[in-house]
Subunit: 382 residues, 2 copies
């Protein structure tokens, strides 16, 4: 298996981007990634996207995006795993390079959510239509049940959940690409309107437009593009039952644990080696569960991580230095690739005010649905 | 790069399968593939599917299908490239095995099209929404324009188109899994109702439900599953402009040519070496154009291939011995995998009345949209 490196990155700002279409967003991010590496050609393109079909009536994004990038002819395909689509596209791009099938691979995630679709309904199609959605549940409701289970089992409080939002907004205030750059207080979170008890508005990530792209190549060709490549040393994918009701412990995300174990094993590292991480905080409770399941925080101790400062910039293991999905925004198909970009920049020492000192090894964890799929990548600066 | 083999296959019948849901279809095909190889475990699953979201309100098919197969936990993702989704999933599965990331990979294609969605509109989302679909064009219209261009350039006639349908229905009459097992005559085709001039009803593939699955592993582990593995010796993917109007010659499918060239190069064979092929006959004109662009028939000579018997069972290069999309049916995400199964069985000598004598090397070509994407695989019996 060939060693794989990220050698370039580009992304749009995240937010309600009324002036850009789905294809505009893709091209801006992709061109940014190519230009950052001085690349004018790729062999293949993997587009992570949850639902161009339902959001804007457009499937077949592989050739569409290759065409609009001026690269019609290259291999291209779309990869979907709900909100883990971007991470899954990175996994596919990794395999394309590792196998020897491609020498230059563009991995991009993109979603256009604000063009008038019934967003809650479209997102719900990532849950089990037959046993969940048809009966009226939506994702805020599913994550509210996860939160209740975590509260019952581990004594987690509404204030613990609020601290996740406070931390991530604080990080996001330092990120020029973030959708929300204002800081929030615990009191503001606890006074914000109830969405699905115990989750309030400020416990939830927003609806966003955006795109993110990275350029991959074999490590031994990286010098063509950059003198600061970042190695992808581990990739792990796992699934769980799609319906939350089918899990023994709804507060434990088995797909996150399995995908992390697979990535750690491939990388030859342990959770203790991770110095910076982006995890899937679509709701505040998700960050807590993902930290526990990935081994970055001891099981049952995730709730206090944000409040105690362990996961803040300057803490033992800074988590979601980008602002996370909560503050940076969550254009669902783009999220997994944007996570990779944050860690890529951290390991290159390019994160400015958000820089984690001497970060050498980082991790991203991207999740689909209520944890039915998870993708973990581990990266090392060289 | 590790050598890759297909060691098992399973598929549902194709047709209007009212009694089975999307997940039922998947499980029937997947269990068939696993059972045929005596396998009770896989490392990863790639699901080819065009639009579960628009057809039945269900995205996130990777974990859903893993779960319903009783394999929640394994890696799984959906791959989409419109009607080439199945072929693209096979390409991803190939890379997963070739790279060393997975030792046992299930590649399945599935589509449920008859559950009440506006099928023509959903399929149209594989074309360019902004420059084609919003202005009223649908796929029969796009392929009608391709047919007109081919007629003008090469003198192709309506009767030539009819012969493609006659041949494929004749082949399909021998296939117990086919949606339409009745033979048709040239006169019947030419008397069938006009859909988009010059394409009549019997020039068009039907709307179908169905699923198809194959099991892949490294060639050196194939004996665990079967004593008749079939090697995948070439895989090629390519794109073209998504909008038909952006192509210099609408009658020539550049993505098919490029994807075939890439697959031939990897396989180290030429079109002359191919003894049996399945190509993408979503409309009769598509078979003609795909045969020319893939090099299986000389450019400009595709129109007479069916009428002359060259591409019939018993001819020089039998094409679409399964009945093709025209007669076997076209559950869009399943098609590319079903093509692979036909060639797999041909190279194992298991095609019964449809058997091509002494077939050793075969090819499948699967296309998305009006040729915006194409995937070619080349196979060799061992």
């Amino acid at each position: 298996m060939r060693e794989v490196a990220i050698v370039g990155a580009g992304m749009t700002r995240f937010g309600e981007i009324w002036e850009s279409s789905l294809r505009d967003l893709f091209v801006e991010a992709a061109a940014g990634a190519l230009n950052s590496a001085g690349a004018d050609h790729v062999d293949s393109i993997f587009v992570g996207n949850m639902s161009g079909g339902q959001f804007v009536g457009q499937e077949h994004l592989g050739p569409l995006m290759a065409d609009h990038l001026g690269m019609a002819g290259v291999a291209a395909a779309r990869v979907e795993s709900a909100c883990a689509s971007g991470g899954m596209a990175l996994n596919m791009g990794f395999m394309a390079v590792a196998s020897g099938c491609s020498d230059a691979v563009l991995v991009a995630g993109v979603e256009k959510m604000t063009d008038g679709a019934d967003v809650t309904n479209v997102l719900a199609s990532a849950a089990d239509q037959e046993t969940e959605v048809y009966h009226g549940i939506t994702f805020p409701g599913l994550y509210a049940m996860i939160a209740r289970a975590h509260m019952e089992k581990h004594g987690t409080t509404e204030e613990d959940l609020a601290w996740v939002a406070v931390k991530n907004h604080k990080h996001g205030s330092l990120n020029p690409k973030a959708q929300f750059r204002g800081e929030v207080t615990v009191e503001q979170v606890l006074r914000s309107s109830m969405v699905a008890e115990p989750l309030r508005l400020l416990h939830c990530s927003p609806v966003s437009d955006g795109a993110a792209a990275v350029l991959l190549c074999p490590l031994d060709q990286a010098e063509k593009y950059t003198d600061k490549p970042v190695k992808v040393i581990g990739t792990g994918v796992a699934t769980d039952s799609i319906a939350l009701a089918d899990r023994k412990d709804p507060a434990f995300l088995g797909s996150v644990e399995k995908s992390a174990e697979r990535a750690y094993k491939m990388a030859g590292v342990t959770p203790k080696d991770i110095q910076v991480a982006e995890v899937h905080d679509c709701f505040a409770i998700a960050e807590i569960c993902c930290l526990e399941a990935s081994g970055l925080i001891e099981k049952g101790k995730g709730a206090k991580a944000a409040a105690s400062g362990v996961t803040s910039l300057g803490g033992r293991i800074p988590v979601n230095t980008s602002g996370g999905l909560k503050s940076k925004g969550h254009p669902v198909g783009a999220t997994g690739v944007a996570q990779a970009i944050e860690v890529f920049e951290q390991l290159r020492g390019e994160s400015g005010e958000r820089q984690v000192e001497d970060a050498r090894i980082g991790l991203t964890q991207n999740m689909g649905g209520s944890g039915a799929s998870s993708v973990v990548h581990i990266y090392q600066g060289v």
